[in-house]
Amino acid sequence: MRDKLVQLKTEALEQFQQASSLNSLNELRVQYLGKKGELTEILKGMGKLPAEERPLIGQLVNEVRDALEQLLEERKVSLEQAAINDRLSKERIDVTLPGKKVAKGNTHPLTQIVEQIEDIFIGLGFTVAEGPEMETDYYNFEALNLPKDHPARDMQDSFYISEEILMRTHTSPNQVRTMESRKGEVPVKIICPGRVYRRDDDDATHSHMFHQIEGLYIDKNIRMSDLKGVLLAFAREMFGEDVQIRLRPSFFPFTEPSAEVDVTCAVCKGSGCRVCKETGWLEILGSGMVHPKVLEMSGYDPEKYTGFAFGMGVERIAMLKYGIEDIRHFYTNDLKFLKQFNR
């Protein structure tokens, strides 16, 4: 019996080793260790043994069973592993093939610039005010200290619809409309983005329609130094932490003092290049302290309140930012142009 057991063990272990699949391994398990398996059959012969031999044989049976089960488990793990490896190798794909296309568009570059500027000023506590693109002469000119026949009207040749109605030449009428609707309350902190229209022949740098963003801040004790501070904060958000701004005296009928605002040239960082015409500066904004007449006409007492206003051309900023050479690209919408602004 002992010999039988030893033989069974040797045979079984050899077969376990040779089993090449989980299925055949399972069959072997049944064959040797199942309820009707060979080891069980041997055990059935135990009763015929003399009593003093039984414990010894019993022990041997246990040893054989443990050995078989242990190898069985080891083989099972390794065959499972092999099966997975086999599957993995069969499932191999060419990951360098292109992915399936997912359609993706993007907003217009001018929208992106407008939203960026809006968000900067929203962060500074401004709200966004919009108004009509077609305006009355009163809101577009008169309320902004540009009476009829004022020589400064030449600065902006306009598209008229009738004697009193025209396409707005700037988004400033929104400032007046907002001030009127606020009825003397402060603070007024708005930015006004929108399309504006001027009689220019379309060429690489002129467009009869373009976009502006203007801002207005009215409160008690607003100073020109605050204008500088707010514009510096804006310029740094928009163009980078290290830029400087420079104010140059200028003239706008609706502000006084008025200033053109230059920002350090982003291309050369101020050392001078072709883009900035070797000056190190780029002119990007017009600004100034709101003219007392404008405040008066919109219902704010200029002795009590002061304010500043500023405005910039969106196309100009986009052109500077991306180095776009022709303003007409924004309106002809060549897909090859639009696609480049996908971030």
Binding site: F159, I222, R223, S225, E256
Partner: protein, 808 residues
């Protein structure tokens, strides 16, 4: 305004300040210098020469051999090809070793065998702006006046050692339209003295009183008219120094009288006019408005029809000039003129501006009048010109001035509060510093309790209020000196309105779905603008009064024509696959002629054309179709909160394919449409098949729900059933789905169509539709019986309404 640096030196000391430095200082303090023109374009070693002899070249008909004295020991022999060269002339000679513009070097040369030791130059060869010279001087060599000194350096004689600063003046700074005005500005910046020209005048002979009478009949248009009489004039060229000043300023020299009036205008800022006294009837000047249908022939020999609001200078019987704009031909100074009636006046800027604009006659004079000239300059300019007419025109000035004044000007006194200055600018200036700035400006400033009482000279008509003075302080103190601060008021909450935020969501959703945003012009062409049906029944295209072209002559009433144009533009550039949208306004009115602002409606237009899914290794290319577009719209509506969206076949929409267009309703309100464009439009714009959508965002926004509703997750399982039916092809899937929803009742959680099938098996004119229905009771587990009953109700209703048959 062109400012000659050398000329300016007569009025203010510019020692140690180069033209470039001056330009920078002017620009940084508010008078922008747009450019600096060096009048020397690269000329060296040129001298004034005297053509002592001229002989024909022995071997060349067109060449002359000249012996020219340039002040050296020996005369130079110069071969010259100019027609106008002659013995006895003073000319400009570039000697051997000289340089001319363009890098030309003068060398000893032999011309057809004859030695030439230099060149007699034309104005063009010297790099001068010869357009301002008389014709004969343009064509040949430059011939100088008799008094030019032989051997003198011609660079300084010709004024080529000068630079011209081009001022880009803002409308408020018309004071800088004169050399003296610029001198005051420069003096303030540099803190130097202004040197005014001597205005002393020697009057002679009889009084003007009996000879010239001035009468203003339109006092609101003319506040002062002054005239002097100068007799014994000899017309001739003006001296070269004066011509040089005029040319530097871009003014063409004509003769001594005209040149003097121009010179004084440039110096004083006051335009003048010289009449031939003998052609002004009775020496009587009347300033009045034109009579109806009155005409005048102006100096340029054009007959002008006058409007009754145009201001005229007339004598007793006829107009002799259009005030401030142009003189009349009938009183023009000419070679026979001996006596001059010299006018210096102040006309209303508005009146001159209107007249000049209407007649299309803008001149150096009118542009100065338009901006209101300095009232103080009227007499100064008159006297200065009279003085020059004595010295340069050989005239005698009659005693006295014929003058009428209808308005007296007084220098305004403005109080400038120190607290206001600092409160406005954020500075901490002291009263002495402000006073110092006023002193530099030559504004009288007396200290007062709150600051200063400032008296502003009339030459600075732009300064009328305190804030104008604050600006002067700011710019002369320096904008760079203004500190940087942030507003001290409390913080406010910034942000977008719901509507603005919603618009951003629309953009972002559409771009995520593969569309590109475009911007098109708001001006349309009448030939295309009505190609699609608008939302408002009454929509009249609003025309611009003066369009720049036919293509941009009206305000757009619709976005889609512009998107079709964009598609066409792209197809011509090989961009055949295009998915675009625009959010923009259209301009709608019921008025034939606009009396009030139109409605500006924010709309959304989209266009898809070409391939939707490009060919790739996983699939064949797929052309865009109606359902690609509808899928995008369904996603858009879900994202932007449009609920109860119904699509209804629309067969009669202008511009659209009658069988492939849907009207879109949200909560039963039509908000737009979508479909394929009509083949006729496809031809008109020469584009491929295209699908478009058009949505009225203003109508849609109030209908949307901007927040999400939360429902607790279901506790009981759902039960799913399919339903396949056969119906006539004409019956729309939308109607059937609607019926299913109604018939199934509250336990129907979801239904969706998953298959459409036609073919022989189904029968001609029939189609099979398969729906998947999901049932659930939130309160309890559904029994089979409940679900079966619901399915039965659905089928019965479909059979009753559409003769639907269950497909096994």
């Amino acid at each position: 305004m062109k400012v000659s640096y050398n000329w300016l030196k007569q009025y203010v000391d510019l020692q140690g300040v180069s033209p470039e430095e001056l330009a920078e200082k002017l620009t940084r303090s508010g008078v922008e210098v747009e450019g600096i023109e060096n009048r020397n374009k690269g000329v060296s070693q040129i001298f004034i020469g005297y053509v002592a002899e001229k002989a024909k070249h022995p071997d060349a008909d067109k060449l002359n051999v000249c012996q020219v004295d340039v002040g050296q020991a020996e005369r130079l022999q110069i071969v010259c090809g100019a027609k106008n060269v002659d013995a006895g002339q003073k000319v400009v000679v570039s000697v051997v070793g000289a340089q001319l513009p363009g890098g030309l070097k003068i060398k000893k040369a032999k011309l057809r065998g004859v030695e030439s030791q230099g060149m007699i130059c034309s104005a063009k060869e010297l790099g001068m702006n010869d357009k301002l010279l008389p014709k004969d001087q343009q064509e040949g060599i430059l011939v100088l006046p008799e008094e030019a000194e032989v051997g003198q350096d011609a660079i300084s004689y010709l004024g080529l050692d000068d630079a011209v600063l081009e001022l880009g003046l803002t409308p408020n700074r018309s004071d800088c339209l004169s050399m003296i005005g610029v001198a005051y500005e420069v003096a303030a910046i540099l803190d130097r003295e202004v040197k005014l020209p001597d205005l002393s005048l020697e009057e002679e002979g009889a009084s003007i009183e009996d000879k010239v009478h001035v009468q203003i009949e339109a006092p609101e248009h003319c506040s002062k008219y002054a005239a002097r009489l100068i007799t014994g004039i000899k017309l001739g060229p003006s001296p070269f120094w004066m011509q040089s000043c005029l040319m530097a300023a871009g003014v063409r020299p004509i003769n001594n009288i005209v040149d003097i009036t121009n010179y004084v205008m440039l110096e004083q800022g006051q335009p003048l006019h010289a009449f031939d006294y003998d052609r002004v009837e009775n020496g009587k000047i009347i300033v009045r408005l034109a009579h109806p249908n009155e005409t005048i022939q102006t100096l340029d020999d054009i007959e002008r029809k006058l409007d009754p609001d145009m201001l005229l200078i007339t004598d007793v019987s006829k107009p002799v000039g259009i005030a401030g704009v142009m003189g009349g031909a009938n009183s023009e100074v000419n070679v026979d003129t001996v006596s001059i009636l010299l006018e210096s006046a102040q006309f209303s800027g508005v009146s001159i501006r209107k007249t000049a604009k209407k007649l299309g006659l803008r001149s150096e004079a009118s542009s100065r009048f338009e901006k209101e000239v300095n009232p103080d300059a009227v007499m100064d300019a008159l006297n200065r010109a009279a003085q020059l007419m004595i010295t340069l025109g050989g005239g005698k000035v009659a005693k006295g001035v014929a003058v009428e004044t209808t308005k007296e000007w007084k220098e305004p006194t403005i109080s400038l509060r120190l607290e206001r200055v600092n409160g406005y600018l954020g500075t901490s200036l002291e009263v002495g510093q402000v006073q110092e700035i006023m002193r530099r400006l030559r504004f009288a400033a007396a200290e007062s309790e709150q600051g200063l009482q400032v008296t502003v000279p009339l030459r600075r008509q732009d300064i009328t209020r305190e804030v104008d003075l604050i600006e002067e302080v700011a710019r002369l103190h320096g904008y760079d000196q203004i500190p940087i601060s942030l507003p001290e008021g409390g913080t406010t909450r910034g942000g977008l309105t719901d509507y603005q935020q919603w618009q951003r969501t629309i953009r972002n959703t559409l771009t995520s779905a593969g569309l590109f945003e475009v911007f098109t012009y708001a001006f349309s062409d009448e030939k295309v603008m009505y190609d699609f049906a608008p939302f408002e029944a009454e929509h009249k295209g609003i025309p611009l009064t003066m369009p720049m072209s036919e293509e941009r002559s009206h305000l757009r009433v619709h976005l889609l024509p512009h998107l079709l144009e964009t598609a066409s533009y792209n197809q011509n550039r090989q961009n055949n696959d295009l998915s675009i949208f625009e959010m923009g306004r259209v301009f709608l009115t019921e008025e034939a002629e606009l009396t009030k602002l139109p409605k500006e409606k924010l709309c959304l237009g989209g266009l898809l054309t070409g391939t939707w899914l490009p060919q790739q290794w996983t699939n064949k290319p797929q052309s865009v179709d109606f359902y690609d577009m509808k899928g995008i719209l369904e996603m858009l509506f879900a994202t932007i909160g449009a609920e109860q969206v119904v699509y209804r076949s629309a067969e009669n929409l202008k511009g659209m394919h009658p069988g492939r267009t849907t009207e879109i309703l949200v909560q039963n309100i039509p908000v737009g449409y979508a479909g394929q464009i009509h083949p006729e439009l496809q031809n008109k714009y020469d584009i491929q098949e295209a699908y478009v959508f058009y949505i009225d965002l203003e109508k849609l926004f109030p209908l949307v729900k901007r927040t999400n509703d939360y429902t607790p997750l279901p506790k009981y399982p759902a039960s799913s059933r399919d339903l396949s039916i056969v119906v006539d092809q004409a019956i729309s899937a939308g109607d059937i789905e609607q019926t299913i929803v109604e018939a199934a009742g509250a336990i129907l959680e979801d239904v969706h169509l998953f298959d459409v099938f036609t073919g022989e098996k189904i029968g001609a004119g029939k189609k099979s539709l398969a729906f998947s229905l999901l049932y659930r009771n939130p309160e309890a587990t559904l029994t089979d019986q409940e679900v079966n009953e619901a399915q039965e109700r659905v089928l019965q209703e479909l059979t009753a309404k559409y003769q639907a048959e269950l497909r096994m």
